[in-house]
């Protein structure tokens, strides 16, 4: 019996050797052993990408020049690729990417643009010469009096904006300033003034053309993301409202309108006081939304209220589970009830557990990731250990102005 097994074994080895030889490849035991565990991989590029990593452990990892199932590139480039492709990824995919966790150096758009031709240079010179003129304008206006009674003291002129004219200041209580802003030459206030600003004023559109590129990275829906804001996503920094609001704006945009729409409320909404004022912060189409995300800022801490409109539930997500959730949920309910006048909506309050924060810096990132998971309809599956990675991911998402949707896995 054992003799026949031996014979069959030798025969099998010879067959394998012959087959590989006929295919033009030399037989290598090493190659054979590597090929065995990756039966599910299909393409050679994927095999090559994984070869280095399978050597170490059983679980496939992504090497520096290796591949991921989606991108084919890892690291920051792979992340950018995923975001640009508007992929839907799992947290596992992101973990495999091995993106650098250090602060991302943000590329700022070139802001030191020089005048490109002689005409520009000439205008630039004129503008400089015109710097003193607003004072003259303001003086003359004050001498002539203005429409709001006795003129006050003229404060310093505002440099560079040749078409901004300070008319008067009243210093009772809180420095009350009246400023006349004009955008072109015909709006100058009087004869002297128009003489004074004429050299600059005539170039009506040029001041804008002359201005450097915008100081912010992008602006959408009145929200402006500056480089300084993005830096609050660097490791261990406290995330600011601009990052939260810009990210939620992108998320809402990615979720689209209609029945599947996700509405967001600006984090600057008042957390007490005037209900009418707070109602104005609700998105216009909040009735059609399935979900409204409300980032709540209270005493240096970020938390989140998710209003599920169809099931009439208010979920409170706090990575640190501080007390005070009921106060906030009651306030949100007051706002929503006030907005939905006439309807007798009953809201159920649910305080959710969710991933826990283990330091004093990351609550803003927890809020962002909770928002993303809730909007994508999955349970928040990240932990404190993922936060350094997720900070980088959010930073890149904001830079590329799109949100990488998440799915379970």
């Amino acid at each position: 019996m054992s003799f026949y097994s031996y014979i069959w074994g030798v025969f099998a080895w010879v067959c394998i050797f012959k087959t590989s030889h006929l295919c033009g490849r030399t037989f290598s035991p090493k190659r054979f052993t590597i090929a065995m565990p990756r039966q599910q991989t299909n393409t050679t590029s994927q095999r090559q990408g994984r070869r280095g990593s399978t050597r170490g452990r059983g679980a496939p990892k992504v090497t520096v020049d290796g591949s991921t199932p989606q991108a084919g590139i890892s690291g920051l480039e792979g992340l950018k690729h995923l975001i640009s492709a508007k992929s839907t990824v799992t947290l596992q995919d992101l973990r495999k990417l091995k993106v650098p966790r250090a602060a991302v150096s943000v590329v700022v758009r070139n802001s030191d643009r020089k005048p490109t031709n002689d005409a520009d240079a000439e205008i630039s010179k004129t503008s400089k010469r015109g710097r003193g003129t607003p004072e003259a304008v303001a003086d003359s206006v004050v001498e002539s009096g203005n429409g709001r009674g006795a003129p006050g003291v003229v404060v310093e002129s505002l440099p560079r904006d040749d078409d901004v004219v300070v008319v008067a200041v009243r210093n009772n209580a809180g420095a009350e300033v009246i400023v006349v802003l004009s955008s072109d030459s015909d709006s100058t206030n009087d004869g002297d003034a128009s003489d004074a600003v004429a050299p600059c004023g005539k170039s009506a559109n040029d001041p804008d053309a002359l201005q450097d590129e915008p100081p912010y990275l992008w602006g959408k829906g009145g929200l402006y993301l500056y480089r300084e804001h993005l830096e609050t996503l660097n490791q261990r920094k406290w995330v600011n409202d601009s990052v939260i609001n810009c990210y939620l704006y992108l998320l809402s945009e990615a979720c689209g309108d209609g029945e599947d729409g996700v509405g967001v409320v600006n984090s600057l909404f008042p957390t007490d006081g005037d209900v009418e004022k707070a109602v104005a912060f609700l998105p216009d189409n909040y009735c059609q939304c399935r979900l409204i995300l409300i980032p709540v800022h209270c005493k240096n801490h970020w938390a989140l209220v998710a209003a599920h409109m169809h099931s009439s539930e208010l979920h409170y997500w706090d990575s640190n589970q501080l007390p005070g959730s009921e106060t906030i949920l009651n306030w949100i309910e007051v706002i929503l009830k006030h907005a939905q006048k006439g309807t007798d909506h009953k809201w159920t309050h649910v305080v959710k557990g969710g991933p826990k924060q283990k330091n004093g810096d990351d609550c803003g990132v927890f809020v962002l990731q909770n928002c993303l998971c809730i909007a994508c309809g999955i349970a928040p599956d990240f932990t404190q250990n993922d936060i350094p990675l997720l900070r980088t991911v959010v930073q890149q998402e904001l830079l590329l102005e799109t949100v990488l949707k998440r799915r379970e896995g």
Binding site: P159, D161, G174, V177, V179, D190, N240, D241, L268, F269
Partner: protein
């Protein structure tokens, strides 16, 4: 020096109030067709603060700096909120 009343008749303006988080008010007159960017920049310069540290809101919405008072239907004595940055980690 020309009569100012005539100019006012020609140029429709709107007077707006910018209120900061402490309740301090600052009044602006701005042409209805002028971008609100000018108002924001002037406010920041007067207050000596940087543009990225203030959020301007009108009626619950952040203000697009390229819009004009006409675009967003501003009326005389309307209030613009100038809010400060919010930041948070933990209590």
């Amino acid at each position: 020096m020309a009569d100012q009343g005539d100019v006012k008749a020609e140029v429709p303006q709107v007077s707006l109030k910018v209120v900061n988080a402490d309740g301090a008010e600052m009044y602006f007159k701005i042409k209805r067709g002028t971008q609100l960017k000018k108002l924001m920049d002037a406010y920041c310069k007067k207050q000596g603060i940087s543009r990225q540290s203030v959020r301007f809101l009108f009626d619950g919405s952040p203000i697009d700096e390229n819009k004009t008072p006409d675009d967003i239907g501003m009326e005389d004595d309307d209030v613009i909120d100038a809010m400060v940055e919010q930041t948070g980690g933990l209590l």
